[in-house]
């Protein structure tokens, strides 16, 4: 009797161990992520300014938020930035990965060069970029001193183009990382399939278009997750390069949220903008996660 009870206990324990192992993570997520999200949503309906306070004001913060022209600016910028950033990083990453996959001599030398920007913090690479893009001391000045007198590159000082310089620096930082993801995907493709296709006389172009790139789907999806999360969190970059300027031309939702919550002492409006941002993220990510995770079963 004792032995079976013991065995019984053991199997039950075995059933519980996986859940026990998972439980610290679940608890942390429940409190530190979802609890905090709920708290932030709640704050968006209160009159919080310097510190959280709990006077209910309904949708006042939201109506104020939508009256602020520079919230709209930051949303437009987010659209431009995220779209270009994700597209360009993916394109450059894929191109470099395909090129690097052609039995390139010196791959071991080039790869770390492509990857290293990810290792640097923007607190100071921002300064390097700022200098480089500054027409007075950077590229424009250098090209002019080399004899191209009419060369002009003043995007960072131009309200309509400054956001593109942010894209440039952001692409610089992460496209190498995306390259690594695609390279890994390429290396994982079964060569037998390719050889068979080649026997059938497929050109390189068709090989990539019809067979290889479709097989990289998981890499595309991982890249999308990583890039979109980085796009949404882009903050240091803007602070270091333009401080949101010229004027408010490079303000993004993350900088907007930070400035209302912490420097302007309008925590309620900051929380409202955070709520809208989270809803936007959810609207994009939930369908994606749903399709991704369902197919894997």
């Amino acid at each position: 009797m004792a032995r079976t009870a013991d065995a019984d206990f053991k199997t039950r324990l075995q059933n519980w161990i996986p859940k026990l192992v998972l439980s610290p993570t679940i608890a942390m997520m429940a409190v530190f992520v979802y609890g905090f999200i709920l708290f932030s949503v709640y704050l968006s309906f209160t009159d919080s300014r310097l510190l959280p306070s709990f006077g209910w004001v309904g949708f006042e913060n939201y109506s104020k938020l939508w009256r602020l022209s520079h919230w709209e600016v930051s949303l437009t910028n987010m659209g431009i930035f995220a779209a270009l950033y994700i597209l360009i990083c993916t394109a450059i990453g894929l191109t470099l990965a395909i090129f690097l996959d052609q039995k390139i001599r010196g791959e071991g030398f080039l790869r770390p060069i492509y990857l290293y920007p990810m290792a640097l913090s923007f607190i100071v690479t921002g300064t390097a970029w700022k200098w480089f893009l500054d027409p007075g001391i950077g590229l424009e000045n250098i090209m002019q001193s080399w004899g191209w007198v009419n060369f002009s590159f003043d995007w960072i000082k131009n309200r309509d183009y400054a956001i593109y310089t942010i894209v440039l620096a952001a692409v610089w930082q992460t496209s190498g990382f995306v390259m690594a993801m695609f390279l890994a995907g390429l290396r994982g493709i079964d060569n037998e399939i390719l050889k068979a296709a080649q026997m059938d006389g497929a050109s390189n172009w068709n090989l990539y278009r019809r067979i290889i790139i479709p097989q990289l789907r998981p890499a595309f999806l991982s890249a999308f997750v990583i890039l979109s999360h980085l796009a949404i969190k882009t903050f240091d970059l803007v602070i270091a390069m333009t401080g949101g300027g010229p004027g408010r031309a490079t303000e993004l939702p993350a900088t907007f949220m930070y400035s209302y919550t912490f420097t302007r002492n309008q925590m309620g409006i900051g929380a409202a903008s955070a709520t809208i941002m989270l809803m936007t993220i959810a609207a994009i990510m939930i369908p994606y996660l749903y399709s991704e995770l369902r197919e894997k079963k």
Partner: protein, 293 residues
Amino acid sequence: MSAATQDTAIRTGRVTRTLIYLVLILFALFYMLPLYVMLVNSVKPLDEITGGGMMNLPQEFTIEPWLKAWSTAQIGVDPTGLAPYFWNSIKMVVPAVIISTVLGALNGYVLTKWRFKYDTIIFGLMLFACFIPFQIVLIPMARMLGLMGLAGTTWGLALVHIVYGIGFTTLYFRNYYAVFPTELIRAAQIDGAGFFQIFWRILLPSSGPIAVVSVIWQFTNIWNDFLFGASFAGADSQPMTVALNNLVQSSTGVKEYNVHFAGAILAAMPTLLVYIVAGRYFVRGLMAGSVKG
């Protein structure tokens, strides 16, 4: 991953290859550009920088800025340089990286090999958590740390990094373990091996590549974090990035750009080293699983 063992089916002509090399080298130059700007300006005297010509090689070479950034630059009231903060960062990064990677590995193991009802939903929730903007968690996190008695400590800071890194490490390990043959696990189970035995004897020994990915990712993110470090560290545990920020951002005073750049490279040294040393395992690790469905 050496080219010799790689049997690619793609053949390219000479012209194409030249073009490919050209593009690759151009991009390499593009990636090196900011580092070049930082490097050359970190070995110039200040008046040479303010005199203009930021792309020029130094006329007068000096390592003074490097020494200053490391040991005598003004970070706070005391001219300590970045050196003491370096160890603060190490003390925070090492436990945070180890714990979040171990938890990620265990989570990935459970979520792929010990499936239960709603496990996908739980994983989805973890993944969604990666997207939470850090600015909104600052105040409630401060309160929680205060309640737990961890405010202003290295452990408190490490906890924060663990919490917000675990989604990524779980993602990496889950995708990696997903392609690991489940039959092996079942066989071991029949032989009477328990939960941890299976993990320890079967999965862990083959987890090297993905552990590298997870460690690199976590190490870089945690080392470079500024917001949490500034907000949750105490006076004796401020990390390197906060010190670097103090060095660079001094609001009213002379800006010693050469010292700033030297400091920036010093601060980035560990992460650069990790990328260079572990870089080749990195691609291998990604290849081995994280980008596969």
